[in-house]
């Protein structure tokens, strides 16, 4: 589904991603871990198409298409969803209204008719249950006055409604208490499926107690320095990133 080859990306002249290679197939859950500033969030946003980042080298193929050529909104309509680390507030625009416009733009891409208000509300009700979200939140302006946990839940809820092919979750677990973490994890687990791929970006191993990944990748200094199965996360938890960083540095020195 997603094929990343030697991806380099800059922001304001600084190179953040320095040659990422990653293959993600349908049905798989990949976790990307790494210390602060390693480029995890950058990778997530570059894949989503944020135009403050400039891709300088490399290729990204998504479902056979050149992803880099597509605008951010076109990517979204083709089934890429990013759950934001810091969900944005939009005053005066209700979550329901926003989400219906989003869903209908995606349906249009798929050649489907707009979902009418009644069907939409039914869908929303059902998906809101998934993340134990209070219906009254959906009538309020997007994320305005939401608690940190509510914002994150709203992201997972939107993901469930929009039904993406490739979901990228950027530190969705950070700032959640243990109950919220369980709810959010349940939401993620429920949308896991054979035709969907998920990329989880996280600092901590604790999310992985709830959402068990197929692959774990360690991102350090803009490169994936180690990949493995779910046991790699446990390993990291024990030894910390320092050991891996050190190994990565040595490897880089040797390489140059």
């Amino acid at each position: 589904m997603l094929e990343i080859r030697n991806l380099h990306a800059h922001v304001e002249g600084n190179e953040i991603l320095k040659g990422i290679n990653l293959t993600v197939n349908a049905g798989e859950v990949h976790t990307i871990m790494g210390p602060n500033g390693s480029g995890k969030s950058t990778l997530a946003q570059v894949l989503a198409g944020r135009d403050t980042y400039e891709v300088t080298e490399g290729e990204v193929t998504y479902c056979g298409e050149d992803l880099i050529e597509l605008s951010c909104d076109a990517r979204a309509r083709k089934g890429i969803f990013l759950a934001f680390q810091y969900p944005v507030e939009i005053p005066g625009v209700s979550t329901n209204y926003f989400l219906r416009a989003a869903l209908n733009s995606i349906r249009k891409e798929q050649g489907l008719d707009d979902l009418d208000a009644v069907d939409f509300l039914q869908l929303v009700k059902q998906k809101a249950k998934l993340v134990e979200m209070d219906g009254s939140l959906l009538k309020r302006s997007i994320n305005e006055g939401f608690s940190g946990g509510e914002k994150k839940r709203n992201e997972i809820f939107q993901m469930a409604v929009l039904d993406p092919k490739l979901a990228i979750l950027d530190e969705t677990d950070s700032g959640l208490d243990i109950d919220a973490l369980r709810i959010v994890s349940n939401g993620i687990n429920k949308i896991r499926g054979a035709d969907r791929a998920i990329i989880l970006v996280t600092h901590y191993q604790r999310l992985l107690n709830y959402v068990v990944p197929d692959f774990v990748h360690v991102l350090v200094g803009g490169r994936i320095v180690k990949s493995g199965g779910k046991e790699l996360a446990l390993e990291l938890e024990e030894s910390g990133y320092a050991a891996i960083e050190k190994a990565a540095e040595q490897a880089a020195t040797v390489a140059s």
Partner: protein, 482 residues
């Protein structure tokens, strides 16, 4: 923001959708202003003597006045001798009696503007008093309204048919000597609308007027007077668009509202005069005096305006809260793009006890436009327990535009409660990215964010008008916002 900016530029470059000129013969006086011209206007309107005297008094006073310069707008000097002060579409001597008699080209013009002038207006529940240039060409629903004793007619007709009401209320809110532009209007106004709602009557439909400037170099000077007698209610809608011109055109209207005891007047405006092209050439100078007087106890006047047009807007719909417990409200959206300039706001003058006022102002600036909120809240010494809440929000699109806020507060009674909130923000790149990432394209995203920003004002508009206003805002935003 690079993509956002390019979309802003595209919007800025969009042509004015309503820029067409109707080619019909007009009956005009030569350019320039003199007592003779005023006499001609008055005679053409078959006005009673008192009206002519009032006009002349205003004209003589106007000659002693200087054009005001305090507003935060810039424009070359206006040559008042080049303006044609009267222009009316030629028609049969007695005027049209039904729509069939109206010049088809006029109707066509309205058709292009999407105004339901014909009976389909009935479906929308709207009675239309259409002002084409200076003369009202058709009035619908008159019969239905007159059954309730409601008078809704062209101003010139009211001067002839209801001189007592005109004598009593004309100039009672905006005196002939009020300000430069209002005084000019008092001297030369040609037509407008007149509404009288009798005691205890709730007007069953939204009353609506559509103004339009058509003949080249014609200043338009409408005069509107709305009186809600004790316990009456009326909601009045005013919409404006104008065709494309290269010269700047002066538009100096006066609107007076009078609410007697327990009466309510809701006055909503959607203003889309030609704003000039992207280089600031052409466009309407909209110098308008709008004021309402809550004369009786428990009366209420509410102004709602959506301003997207005009090269320059100079407009402060105000409320004089004389009656005890009276309420004044001002809800405004002012959107400027390209080289447009707006200096707009309100005055709330608290005189009666327990008077309350609310001001919600939303300014949106794009392109190189400048948007100024100017407001005054005055609490007089006798206005015990007066309350005011003011909220001024400005939204900037792009980095070449400006937003300015000048709130004046004058309190002479220490029981007053005043609240003032103000914010200035830009459409964030993060907000756009969020919308884009959910599949909305840039234009839809901007439209959604701007509409959300304006929501508090939109919900004050009558339903069908709110939809039109949103559409207008979208048109104004197109190419102007990213």
């Amino acid at each position: 923001m690079s993509r956002a900016n390019s979309t802003i530029d595209e919007w800025a470059e969009r042509e004015y959708k309503y820029g067409f000129v109707t080619d019909i013969e007009t009956d005009s006086v030569p350019p320039g202003l003199s007592e003779d011209v005023i006499r001609v206007i008055s005679a053409k309107k078959q006005e009673p003597e008192f009206m002519l005297e009032w006009r002349l008094k205003a004209y003589r006073h106007w000659q002693t006045m200087k054009e005001p310069t305090w507003a935060n707008v810039k424009y070359p000097p206006i040559n008042y001798d080049e303006i044609i002060y009267y222009s009316a579409p030629k028609q049969n001597k007695d005027g049209p009696k039904s729509l069939d008699e109206v010049d088809p080209k006029l109707l066509e013009t309205y058709e292009k503007l999407g105004i339901p002038l014909a009976e389909r207006a009935a479906l929308a529940g709207v009675a239309v008093d259409a002002v084409f240039d200076s003369v009202s060409v058709a009035t619908t629903f008159k019969g239905k309204l007159s059954e309730l004793g409601i008078i809704f007619c062209p101003f010139s007709e009211a001067v002839r048919e209801h001189p007592d009401l005109i004598r009593k209320y004309l100039g009672s809110v905006v005196p002939y000597s009020d300000n430069f532009f209002a005084t000019l209007n008092s001297a030369v106004f040609t037509d407008g609308s007149f509404v009288y709602i009798p005691k205890g009557v709730r007007c069953p439909m939204e009353l609506s007027t559509y103004f339009r400037i058509n003949a080249a170099s014609t200043g338009q000077f409408e005069r509107t007077l709305i009186i809600a007698d004790e316990g009456a209610y009326v909601s009045y809608l005013e919409g404006c668009t104008a065709p494309m011109r290269d010269e700047n055109q002066l538009h100096a209207a006066v609107v007076e509202l009078v609410a007697l005891g327990d009466a309510t007047i809701k006055y909503s405006t959607v203003q889309n005069w030609y704003p000039g092209d992207e280089n600031g050439v052409g466009g309407i100078y909209n110098f308008v005096t709008k004021r309402g007087k809550c004369q009786g106890d428990n009366s209420r006047i509410s102004w709602t305006q959506v301003e997207t047009g005009s090269a320059i807007t100079w407009k402060y719909p105000s409320c004089i809260l004389m009656g005890d417990n009276s309420v004044g409200e001002f809800y405004s959206i002012a959107m400027v793009n390209n080289c447009q300039q707006a200096d707009t706001g309100t005055k709330m003058i608290h005189i009666g006890k327990n008077t309350r006022s609310t001001i919600i102002s939303k300014g949106i600036s794009a392109g190189r436009a400048q948007n100024t909120y100017r407001g005054a809240v005055k609490i007089n010494s006798g206005a015990d327990n007066a309350r005011n809440f003011t909220q001024c929000d400005s939204l900037l699109l792009g980095d070449k535009c400006g937003a300015h806020t000048f709130p004046y507060i004058e309190v002479k009674n220490n029981t007053a409660k005043m609240e003032h909130e103000a914010t200035t923000s830009k459409i964030g790149e993060d907000q756009l990215f969020y919308c884009n990432q959910r599949g909305l394209n840039l234009e839809d995203a901007v439209s959604m964010i701007v509409n959300g920003f304006c929501k508090e004002v939109f919900r004050e508009l009558p339903m069908e008008f709110a939809v039109e206003a949103q559409r207008l805002l979208d048109v104004s935003l197109e190419g102007s916002v990213g």
